[in-house]
């Protein structure tokens, strides 16, 4: 399960002040709490606030806390090294007063935790995934599990398409090239040669680029093989269809009502694709699903985009295939040992690298904060959650 968690280095501190993620976010007071002010205890006395047990913590927690400090007493179990029972004792909190947990995949909500908290009725996770929560135990105790992730699939799909366009058009490489090369006309040339050079350059900015980087391959008509046609894979397919790409896929099972051609194994999918986009979750079956055989099947003009998990790809083999030009290029948001990235990739301009940022947009964080606040508000005011059980 550890692989399922985002390997995020949180720069969190106890005072709850914004970490560097949130430079771009403003921190308005939660408006819903103001509207239903009568129902909430706004006393500064911490003991009077409703306790909210926090595991993880969710990446959005610093902003959530800043927006909701007057609504809840936050019990930051994530920052404690001791077992939960001891932590609660130290906080002078009766375990039976805990009705709600706010969490994310970084820290498990196990059966033991659930059994310790007899009044627990709702678990809010800011992630789409729920592997960190013992759902069986929740079901046994009638505990609602609510996901308040933002438009995760949209953001990740946007990143996948962005990486693909960047790899194919060498946008990042060109941007860097222009910033270095831009106005740096050779100053020590004789005037005559400078004029000629200027004449040449003025007429052929694009030609010089092509000389440096080679041609771009057109996206139209390209065959895109999606590995994992869940929410993210479907979102990727929808976007690339608008570019006149031909979509095909591999998934655990063929999806009914889907018109894209299905391939039951990834090698076959790769053999019939120009681009592979990895959108599936990581488990025993999918670890290193992209191996040398698949990459050779994809071929010398092939591009791999990974917005799933690093370990979906045999990373050493990927590096070898890129260095030996067995595949054309790659766009990677995830790696096997984040934040370590194979050094060999840094020299390549047909590779675009991203620091596991596919769902880190301020819009989605704001939305997730809002949904989390609303889910908890609704729960505490009515004591039942109105947000339905999450769907996978």
């Amino acid at each position: 399960m550890a692989e399922m968690c985002s390997a995020i280095d949180l720069d969190y501190n106890e005072t709850g002040s914004k970490n560097k993620y949130f430079d771009s976010l403003t921190v308005p007071l939660s408006t819903s709490s103001m509207a239903t002010g009568d129902q909430h205890n706004h006393k500064d006395n911490k003991e009077q606030l409703r306790p909210l047990l926090v595991f993880g913590p969710p990446t959005i927690f610093p902003v959530f806390e800043a927006q909701n400090f007057h609504n809840y007493r936050f019990l930051k179990a994530f920052s404690s090294q001791v077992p939960l029972r001891q932590f609660l004792t130290e906080q002078k909190v009766d375990p039976s007063s805990i009705q709600a947990i706010f969490c994310n995949p970084v820290q498990k909500v196990s059966a033991d935790v659930i059994r310790l908290l007899p009044s627990l009725r709702i678990i809010v996770t800011s992630s789409t995934g729920t592997d960190h929560i013992d759902l069986v135990e929740c079901s046994r105790h009638g505990i609602q599990v609510v996901s308040t992730a933002g438009d995760h699939a949209g953001d990740v799909a946007d990143m996948a398409v962005g990486l693909l366009l960047d790899v194919m058009w060498k946008i990042s490489a060109a941007d860097l090239h222009v910033r270095k090369w831009g106005p740096s006309m050779p100053l020590n040339l004789s005037f005559g040669s400078k004029v000629l050079l200027i004449l040449l350059l003025v007429q052929s900015m694009g030609a010089l680029y092509i000389a440096s980087f080679g041609f771009v391959f057109q996206l139209k008509g390209k065959r895109v093989g999606i590995v994992g046609l869940g929410k993210i894979g479907t979102a990727v397919a929808k976007r690339l269809e608008a570019f006149d790409c031909r979509i095909m896929y591999n998934s655990r099972n063929e999806k009914p009502f889907v018109s894209y051609p299905f391939y039951s194994n990834v090698v076959e999918l790769a053999g019939n694709s120009d681009v592979l986009v990895l959108c599936c979750s990581l488990n025993e079956q999918t670890r290193h699903i992209i191996n040398r055989e698949v990459m050779l099947g994809l071929g010398k003009d092939g591009v791999i985009i990974n917005v799933g998990r690093g370990a979906l790809i045999d990373e050493k083999e990927l590096v070898r295939c890129l260095m030996e030009a067995e595949i054309w290029g790659a766009g990677l948001d995830v790696f096997e040992n984040e934040p370590k990235v194979p050094n060999e990739l840094f020299a390549l301009d047909n590779v675009v690298l991203s620091p596991h940022a596919s769902s880190f947009t301020s819009d989605s964080f704001t939305e997730s904060c809002k949904r989390s606040a609303e889910a908890l508000e609704v729960f505490f005011s009515s004591n039942i959650s109105s947000t339905p059980l999450l769907d996978d």
Partner: protein, 313 residues
Amino acid sequence: MGSIGVLLVTPVLPYLEQELDKRYKLFRAWDYPETAQLLAQHATSIQAVVGNSGAGADAEMIEALPKLEIVSCFSVGVDKVDLEKCREKGIRVTNTPHVLTDDVADLAIGLMLTLLRRICECDRFVRSGKWKHGDYKLTTKFSGKTVGILGLGRIGQAIAKRAEGFNCSICYYSRTEKRNSKYKYYPSVVELASNCDVLVVACPLTEETHHIINREVINALGPKGFLINIGRGKHVDEPELVSALVEGRLAGAGLDVFENEPVVPEELFGLENVVIVPHIGSGTLETRTAMADLVLGNLEAHFLGKPLLTPLF
């Protein structure tokens, strides 16, 4: 046809140059240190000029070529050709529409994504080793944003189609409202800018559209707005754009074209809220080849007395 003189004013795709050389008597402008010298020696042999987005045929050149019959542009934009002069003298002008529409639209979306999601910055962040010390910051979501298109021609429509795949709302400004369009029309560029998150320039460059993106439009687009230019550099008042970016009055810009290519304003190089690429909008091999074939096809048709493939007039 080997005796027909063709003047190639600028280096182009090698395939095109080679074919022109095979079929015609080819004069390359850069072989002559002075244009005057070229004209003095060969003016009366030249019946066709081939140019591109960077160089074409201005009034002076047209006047100096008494035998000129056709200007065939290796581009869709013809702002470097003095069209009025050509009309006056009955000189045909052709360009390369359609074939590069998809490329330019793809790049426009590519610029939007790399700009809003800071993909170039992310790439540099990883390569520099900074990721070991902490995550990159939050970026701006693209899906669902409102995209404003300036000029709803072939390219504008292709951009709209792609943006809709990202659940974007589309609005546009055009000289005249397109009756059959499902997109929201605004009767002025300022109004369009006020009502969109990402404004993309996709119209031809003419006298009317010169500096169509000016201070007023930039201010209307605002500190949360983004500008994408895949048209011509001269669509944008560049100094105004630069100061808006530096001062934070505009959230960011993705630029394929500049007022004085290849000069790119130095102030942009230090900014993380810009994506700069060197006029690569039609840069796929397939498209450049198709463009070249159009140039060759138009010239061939003209000299055989057949209908031109893609004439402007």
